[in-house]
Symmetry: C2
Subunit: 419 residues, 2 copies
């Protein structure tokens, strides 16, 4: 019984609940992103919260698949809560959006669910927002999505961020002929930026010459266009991949966001998935990326309609953790507290004030005078209104006392109030 009562009051590990000010801040962030994506001509998709496990598994690597919440419907099928949106968007693009001109520009905002050990900035339910640009495999498409990722962080008032931009096509070209075990050892050591392990992995794969030199150097090739010189000189698919990344970088200069972008050839995560550029947005002091994305030209075809695609997903809670300056949760204080009343004229004025956009609290506990003013003050509201003469005139009260106002005068005066 005690344990049961404890459970009743407690939330499961790793999920959160937001109260008025925090909730308003989250909704503001969502609205800012919805507005931004819309200005870049992206349209929203709202997929269901759960789908068949088989569907959601299509785009998920082993780690994500391991982290999915699964359950059964009563027809015996296995369902899963979405662990990201990209697979759902891919399915929708392949099976539903035939009548749309290409490229498709889609965005999404909603909860995703991952069974992971909760830490600061990592919850089991969190809010992801992102875009997918589908049906265009060009440097301009790559650059648009990276520039939009930067604009998204700016829209969330994250000032201090960096986008690490890699090129999976380059790593793929360098390792295309290697056996899977060798390749994975090299990839892991590169990802971990561990020179000793990388040397051992290259030895084990029997690599020598320029290819070995380039692979051994990848983890340190971090900077601007100069880090691409060696790969450009390599020729073939490797040089092509480097040239593509250079084109994207130059477009990002034209977009005016290159100041946030660092080329990083050691970015080799998600190799099963990404086929071209890959990128992560990071902020100082946050142990997790704010956003991650890249080009994935092979996913949508798995749903029967081969289409190139590039996109990113952003963690809204993480972005709010590093908002600069840390925005104060806007506490939704009423503009005016109105003494409870049953006169139609008084309720009509309240209705009108609300139509004008004011936040009006009508007392329902029969409070009056000082008691009502104190209640208003506790909520950050300095004004109390009550009607006289059956709702034909009004008294506006504040800490200095009460004075008669007409409805017109009240509306004029409220325009001068802050908030």
């Amino acid at each position: 019984m005690t344990e049961r009562q404890t459970l009743r009051g407690h939330l499961p590990h790793g999920v959160q609940e937001l109260f008025q000010g925090e909730a308003a801040r989250r909704r503001q962030a969502e609205a800012a992103l919805r507005d931004l994506f819309s200005r870049w001509a992206y349209g929203e998709l709202i997929p269901p919260t759960f789908e068949y496990d088989d569907t959601l598994a299509v785009g998920a690597g082993p780690e994500l698949r391991q982290a999915m919440y699964r359950f059964f419907d009563r027809e015996g099928q296995t369902l899963a809560l979405r662990a990201d949106f990209t697979t759902q968007v891919a399915r929708m693009a392949a099976t539903k959006l035939f009548d749309q001109p290409l490229p498709l520009r889609c965005f999404y905002i909603g909860s995703v669910f991952r069974y992971e050990e909760p830490q600061v900035g990592r919850q089991r339910e969190f809010t992801q927002a992102g875009v997918e640009l589908i049906g265009a495999n060009t440097p301009a498409a790559d650059a648009e999505v990276v520039a939009l990722a930067a604009a998204a962080l700016e829209a969330l008032e994250v000032r201090d961020f960096q986008i690490n931009l890699g090129q999976m096509a380059l790593f793929r070209a360098l390792t295309a002929d290697l056996p899977p075990d060798d390749l994975e050892r090299i990839r892991q050591a590169t990802d971990q930026r561990n020179p000793a392990r990388l040397r051992l992995a290259l030895d084990a794969a029997g690599l020598a010459g320029p290819r070995r030199a380039l692979l051994a150097g990848l983890p340190d090739l971090i900077g601007s266009l100069e880090v691409l010189q060696e790969a450009m000189a390599f020729g073939g698919a490797v040089a092509e991949a480097a040239e593509r990344l250079a084109q994207v970088y130059r477009l990002l200069e034209a977009h005016g966001v290159a100041g946030h972008v660092i080329l990083d050839l050691g970015e080799v995560r998600g190799m099963d998935y990404y086929t071209g550029i890959t990128f992560r947005g990071v902020a100082p002091g946050l142990g997790w990326p704010l956003l991650s994305g890249g080009r994935y030209d092979e996913l949508i075809g798995q749903f029967g309609r081969p289409l190139a695609a590039v996109g990113f997903g952003l963690g809204i809670e993480r972005a709010l953790l590093v908002q600069t300056p840390q925005a104060q949760p806007p506490w939704p204080a009423p503009h005016l507290v109105v003494q409870g009343c049953d006169h139609p004229a008084c309720l009509g004025l309240v209705r009108r004030l609300r139509q004008e956009g004011y936040r009006i609290e009508m007392d329902v506990l029969g409070r009056q005078g000082e008691e009502l003013l104190a209640h208003a003050r506790r909520q950050g509201c300095r004004h109390v209104l009550r009607c006289q003469d059956d709702g034909r005139s009004w008294l506006l009260g504040d800490e200095k006392g009460e004075r008669a106002v007409t409805a017109h005068r009240l509306l004029e005066e409220m325009k001068t109030w802050n908030g």
Copy 2:
């Protein structure tokens, strides 16, 4: 393999996905309600999507409990997707919101999940929006919530609706001393408006005299204040309950919404839960209520802090089904399609237009001339822009041809475009 591929492309039964225009319409509805609730001084709560099954079961009747999606976390606890919001808000009010002045005014908007046979207007995942007014047991509180329910339907452009308003306290007072079996038979027959079954149930309970007459008449007591006369004459708790309902109705007249309200003493659903007024919003031609709500003064105490409460929950998808006139999903066509370009001045103009709030699509497929104009037209956009002289001048194209424009001139002209 074939079956697996079929599953990949299909959604589970009873869940839906929304595309650009439909998604925009849903988000507009949510924003309209968020704005309305906020003007009535309600603050948003965002609870987690799942919680411990034990917690969510507290406020759920047997039908809702039966319809919940359950699964296990890896610590062996049973979790469940929320099937409504009220229990979560009750838990939060009892265990977290101690520092808030009473009454609390809370609202929520989000998905709820119920395992039920899908039909038009009944999905397994749907969007619920609602409010809870907590810590006030007064006629003014009851009336505020009913008036806000009517305002919510109006905000969603539902013109033709009715709110059936009952009083569970009256039925409770009439049946307080009956054995549970007798009571439930009477309640069911009343709810089904089945006079023959009701007569049998009253016989079985051995009821006679004025109490029997009043109970037998409840299903037909539908109308305005006159339906309360008999109960008022009854005296005691029955008359008190009728008087309370009359007060609420008179306040709804003052609120200007009584035209939508019908008193209905046969409203006896959710008896385990509701303790005072109960109400349902209905629309012609829709087989399910648009919204339902009422007073539930005993729920929050189950989480350790006894507080009176009244609220309602509304199904957004259902309201959109009966929107009058059926609003056309706003198709988010771009205002302008811009030919792909890598000149900073041109990208700078695009950035400025987006800052001004315009929806700008920048081509990423290298299309030009007629091809680009045709692409723009397919999306409902009549204008195409391209830069000349390295982004120092612009040509605006439409079906009549191209003409040179300055950035200033373009901005002036765009103000005159529709949409």
